[in-house]
Symmetry: D3
Subunit: 254 residues, 6 copies
């Protein structure tokens, strides 16, 4: 199967991190296409940045989903995930959602370990939007600004492990989610130091995406995830227009 | 005070409807600037369309908020509202949020009357994201596809009133919200026919925006609505880049 | 417009604090009538005191609402608010409810800073009764008994600021509500020292009450906030009887 | 043990209904004192009437609780219950709360059968305030205005049974609560006609009150149900002042 | 009345503790039958142990409920309670559920004091399954492994009291539940040292069970607690088979 | 990988249905071991039957999990799932949990189509115990008693499809879960007739179990899913004793 992995941010460093980790979870025969947002920010910490990244993911998905079997939105917080799921005829997985569903199958409550204080609100609201708040034991985050987003694991690995241990000891976490694409691979490299299973969003998204291709759900004709009703649109580019709209009457006539 | 009213969609007809209704709620001295999205769809029914409209609203807000005292996002469902609120130094009101807070002050539970079946899920999720689900008595919506988005009040007025009456009688609504920018003005024109107060998102947003300007909250230095930490960005346009990012190092050096 | 501001407690000192702050938020042409409860307690910390204050507010409102355009219940916790809203033909605002709806439009989560440990439960239950618990980051309160209810701002101002800072730093508050009529004016005087917007219940209630008069909702004929069905009553005084009851048959015949 | 049963309304007819039913659940040696509100309304359907009835219950309880072992608030909706529980040194039971806790021990979900459409909102909000909403299957109510509050069982018995049957069949109720003091005794007289256990608030309150006397909880010195901190008060009458306040300084000096 | 008290565990020491405490709450004429699980574990800390204990309680209840008026499941966490309530024609009380309903009638929020860290998750999930999570202030538990389950009160009494005090002071508990059958009697012996009422699950279950016998609910013919529909079964023993199944056709024919 | 599929019921017919459907989702190299409960009932509709089936599943899992890579509990409602997950050193999947997490990745809200009215409460409580109630649009169930549990698809297929269509149209389901092991295969055979994706618990459990083996979580040393602390036990059989207990001291000495 062919999987389109979208980094909704402009950081090619992070795309490489994601790819390295994703390849470890690709089954024989699964082929990855990596895509990096052509516009946006380096990484997403806020609702504003997620709004941008979500739109960038829509553009990439519209242009490149063809000839793929599933799409992965590879930023924690899943920017644009519901939008992509509505408009694409193939399954879409997100790093957060996938990590949450894997976590729910390994324990009652999970904690999220995050790379910045600011990012917590966006994560909390994403988790709430999925209806998983009851199972969230805590979010714990690094205090200091990141020196370099591509080196956070090397620079802050020990502190992230300490936060994870406190989440188990003090917050009652049964499972840990090491969150954020910049942490791709950390769960694997430190899991032996942690008392409970530690999950990586990229890995979980790979497994869930492949499982959804196996499930082969058909594109809905009803419900709120059937394709958006065609309507006038402009300025969206050809690929996105083809999925969510029709050209305005004037344009159509022209 | 000066208010920037953003229609996150491309429909100038609907912008005119919004303006007509908004002017009725402008206090003496309040001046409106109307803006219509340069790209996007005719009106928003889905998560995908909201993702687009939210990004369009960010672009407009970034470019035009200067020299205004507050911004109104004038589509029900409030596309981009949290993003705008994070990045702008002035208050931001949304049609849905404003209607909800006005409704909460007039009764215990409210119903939303909507223009299409499909639109209900997006509305429901927006209301849930604000934590107001407990107070939602029901959403009731027209069954048939809209012939023309700018004439829905004339074409479907009586059916909308019937839906509203059933929401009071059968669902226990204390307040009605006639939802969607295309219904701007309907609450005013039919309120005498309805047994409980009926609210219009545009009107509520005007009153709440002006009240927030009166409150004059300062821009936060902390919390999750302080300005997004500056980070590398590209392709966002000058105005938006100035608010959410800094140019990538390469670009900066160039 | 004419606003009736009811202090549901017997403390004329606090009524003066409320009036001073309220006048700052009165628009040109808005006229205030201040009323102090003729019976009750000095300030409300408990459910029992709120039950008393709510009944006192009903008596005052019944007697004085005539020739006013809106009523404000000026004690945090909003004693009697739902009762007044049901029985009066004009809008009614409460300090807590108004502060909550203003806070919700400035951030995702808010904290309440309160004047005594004991008062927290009543506040928490009031906020829960409005369905806003999800957005409450924390309640933090002074530890020591108040020496004088009219001088709490002078005596405890710095400690209240410290509590507010901790609510932002440790509890994740995006907005602060400095709660209780005895703190009227504090938000204004200390807001420059606080990292996030700080709200004052009196000010918020003034803005929301004036906005509701602008909205001009009609008195409902249906729903659960239409006037209480007339029924036998006794001992309620003339004004209240006229709103919630009819004299018992015997009395009517006499 | 001696139980003080307070009808927070002025209807002596209903007090007699309550007494008849309560006596059936009095254990040998349990003695009842019946009290009827000296002021208020005939029966409570609204938040406004509950605010009045709660204050009346406080007055009666303050004056008469002495030499009793427990108090029962005998109106469905439990007007004043939290207030009484805070201020009295003896256990206090309420018809709604008692029925809910008995229902929870007999099934997963319960329905409430009520005497008027209007009364539903107040019941729903009372149940929510106890945190029992998840277990509420439905509230079903008579449609027509009551001809005589003291004869509702005779006049409407069959219709109440029909509502109860539909609650089991269509709403998934495991237990029925026939609500409202005017229905005292109905559960007993129709239970053989109903497919699931039917509860009567008076009976449940009697059993729970007697069980709480058996439990003999001590008066708390801490927590939010310890006696309200003494503070200035006026106009509350001698008995209530003694429980919730102290006379104002001026009065004390006089 | 005759009460069957089931210890779903194999520890006769704990059964004796339960019996000693239960006898203090037996009314004149109430007769206790004590039963100890013939298979299972010493005490229940986990979901796995509760699954075992619940099945053991079913076996005992099936065999011995005859000629009793009510059953008490005497392990905190109520293993098997819903199962027993479905299949038995008499009322069934559980230690946790009974303590919760008693606590709810004495305050707004309660804390649970527990004998081990591990046990907290099972308790938390039990309380959530009843829909009481909103009223749970906290669970606090002993840190160290228990030396002897029958001597935990003597060995750890002071530490349990300290945990209880912190629950009131720091977590806002109005009522304390000293949880677990091995703590039977502790609430009574230390209540004078605690600032708020302290409840014992055994005592509460005794009072609630006797109250339910007084209520005399009939066995439901409908709803989800009517007897399980008869179906093929095997290997359950004669008594349990008679309640939940019928012998497989083959067995019936044989 | 080797998967142990446990039917917690005694019906070999249903085990065959499960096996047929499970084989279709086995990846090349995945090997299934089927197990049928040696004691219990024909199929599970009630909490009582689930308590039995959960204990049976524990027994089977204890005896046979060795030399497998994961376990599947193959009854909708997941009897014993948390218990197995605590005590086994390998991943455990359940039909309900797996279907829920697959459904959540294909839409916002799902409906469950069930084989009997009675079974709904148990399903509803299972879903609630996972914290997924917010996303449950409805449960719809067949009205009539089943003639033969192994032929329900043939006998009732069209009625099940009708229920499914109504769940989409009237309840707002984005995804359908055709629930219960006796419906294994139905989703596949009727999905072309349904407007939204239809899921089968067996298939979902197969995919999730295999994904969890891929994830290879280590056995926790902490948190509430680490192995139950060893304690005295008796009568559990050798295999289960080895997992949850230690022999009582007396037995150990003997």
């Amino acid at each position: 199967m062919k999987l389109l992995v979208i980094n909704p941010n402009i950081s090619h460093d992070v795309t490489r991190l994601i790819e390295d980790e994703a390849r470890r979870s690709a089954r024989p025969g699964s082929i990855l296409t990596m895509a990096t947002a052509p516009f946006g920010v380096a990484y997403i910490e806020t609702r504003a940045e997620a709004q941008i990244g979500g739109y960038a993911a829509m553009q990439i998905a519209a242009e490149q989903h063809d000839q793929h079997d599933a799409v992965i939105v590879a930023a924690f917080g899943d920017p644009g995930l519901p939008a992509l799921r509505e408009m694409l005829p193939i399954p879409v997985a997100g790093m957060t959602e996938s990590a949450l569903v894997c976590a729910c199958q390994q324990g009652s409550r999970f904690s999220v370990i995050a790379i910045s204080q600011r990012i917590q609100s966006w994560y909390r609201e994403t988790i709430a939007s999925y209806g998983f708040s009851e199972r969230l034991a805590s979010i714990r985050a690094l205090d200091d600004p990141l020196a370099h987003i591509g080196r956070v694991q090397q620079d802050q690995g020990d502190r992230l492990v300490t936060l994870a241990e406190r989440a188990v000891q003090d917050d009652g976490a049964d499972v840990l989610i090491l969150a954020g694409a910049p942490l791709a691979g950390l769960a694997r490299s430190v899991s032996h130091r942690l008392p409970v299973p530690a999950l990586d969003g990229v890995t979980c998204a790979m497994h869930q995406a492949q499982a959804m291709v196996d499930l082969a759900p058909h594109t809905p004709r009803g419900g709120s995830y059937s394709p958006p009703p065609a309507k006038d649109c402009q300025g969206l580019g050809e690929a996105l227009s083809a999925l969510v709209g029709r050209q305005p009457l004037a344009a159509q006539r022209a």
